[in-house]
Amino acid sequence: MAIFDPTVAPVPEPDENKNLRGINADYTERYGFHDAENYLYKAPKGLTRELVAKISEFKSEPEWMREFRLKALDYFLARPMPTWGSPMLAEVDFDDIHYFVRASERSERSWDDVPEDVKKTFDRLGIPEAERKFLSGVGAQYESEVVYHQVNESLEKQGVIFTDMDTALREHEELLREYFATIIPPNDNKLAALNSAVWSGGSFVYVPPGVHVEMPLQAYFRINTESMGQFERTLIIADEGSYVHYVEGCTAPTYSSSSLHSAVVELVAKPGSRIRYTTVQNWSTNVFNLVTKRAIAETDATVEWVDCNLGSKLTMKYPSVYLMGERAHGEILSIAFAGAGQHQDAGGKIVHVAPNTTSNIFAKSISKDGGRGSYRGLLEIAKGAHGSRSKVVCDALLLDEESRSDTYPTIRIDNDDVNVGHEATVSKVGDDQLYYLMSHGISEEEASKLIVNGFIEPITKELPMEYAVEMNRLIELQMEGSIG
């Protein structure tokens, strides 16, 4: 994603190129650059027991974490690769990946102390600027580790913790250990097992009871090396009656060989709290993005996932919410763009465990230039969850004959005292829609953009203003040259 300065207009491009450009057409100049490798340590390719132990040793971790990693490695090795999802999964070569790259000695609290090369990258992506303007805190991860982390001083005084996971393990071990891997255990699935074995970086957030973090906290993830694996791990705990909005974004250079991003994200929303977690995923199209995200919402708590997937070669990601306490609410807004060579297998899961819980899943996908967008979702209402209500809406828009859309919705209801609605649509931008708009003097390209903007508007309006502007800009770029 771009963290950007909204006052600076993007560089205009020559008109004659416009019709040739497609999804993320300006990716290379905006995000696809890479820096010279000047690393403190770069593991050779491949995953071994020795490497896992070495990562733990590098980080001076307690013995329980070392054991946790080694056990997770056994789980990873014992599990077969999933056969569902996407045929592209078979292309992931676990032997052709660097599992750990250390770019900096430690996570800094001042941009001035971040190594020059790394700082230049984040300057180019506009992060220090964004931090000054509209964020409560920023974390920046480069390769395997977080190189910069800072949180607003007044929040720190109120007891808010926003730091990288490695630091949290050192400084808040007991708090971290209480929740770590309780939402996503290491043997949950093959990729969660991999992350558990080699995790590095990611964010740790704790918001004390009653504290409202008004401006978002943001983490930015950057891969620079070719054939790199990034395995950050994030844990957010919102204590009773608190509120936090966490935003993450990610980009990488475009290489001919594949990289792997496999994160684990766990959210704990205590009674009466609210967590909003926004992702704008814009990896380059050589990245496999295989992520496990799950949350629990206790009594009267709300968890919202706003999940935007623009980049990557293959994304498989289904953020989920377990509604554990009465009147808890879960919300998933998912948007995916699949362009040439891309498969976005996205969606969400909601599990109603407690009575009188409510949820919504709104998923939108747009496929063009032969891309494939899939919605995969689960709505489960357990036996005891009487009086629960849920609505699932998944819509797909196809922009040409070559593109593809699939829907895999699963609904399980063990209760007859509930209200569940499910709607699904697949539409193609039709000649009649274009003709109607063009008859009002709008060009074909503009008409197509209008239709797409209208299609995704229910989701972009949920983004903070700065991100909504950026999303709309990206969408406009993606739409260029889509007609004719």
């Binding site: 056990k71 789980y75 891997a181 309780t182 939402i183 996503i184 255990p185 290491p186 043997n187 949950d188 699935n189 799950r294 629990i296 377990y322 554990m324 599990v351 465990v353 357990a382």
Partner: protein, 105 residues
């Protein structure tokens, strides 16, 4: 109706050991946690995983489902981690004349 079934002599299930018992259509996992014996239905509430085949932590008195990793508290049957969220059935254990017995319904 409650029935009492024999499992094995106490000497055959030492601390840290576990075993599977079948009774009619029930499969029950029996675990010795540091001298106290606990019994739970051998079926994870998430995806029917065979719990007896999972990792048994005697010190913590937990068992980990081998299918998706949910950790169950053997003393209560409650899951300590997702993805399971419902407890497994537990069975009362009786030690009589150095024999482990279970109360089953």
């Amino acid at each position: 109706m409650t029935t009492i079934i024999d499992v094995c002599p106490l000497s055959e299930l030492l601390p840290g050991q576990k075993r599977l018992v079948r009774w009619e259509d029930l499969e029950i996992g029996v675990f010795n946690c540091a001298g106290t014996v606990y019994a739970i239905e051998d079926r994870c509430t998430h995806d029917d995983g065979p719990l007896v085949e999972g990792g048994f932590d005697e010190a913590a008195c937990t068992v980990e489902c081998p299918r998706h990793g949910s950790l169950f508290d053997l003393t209560t049957g409650k899951p300590k981690t997702l993805p399971a969220y419902m407890p497994v059935d537990t069975f009362d254990v009786i030690i009589e004349h150095d024999t482990i017995k279970l109360e089953v319904d």
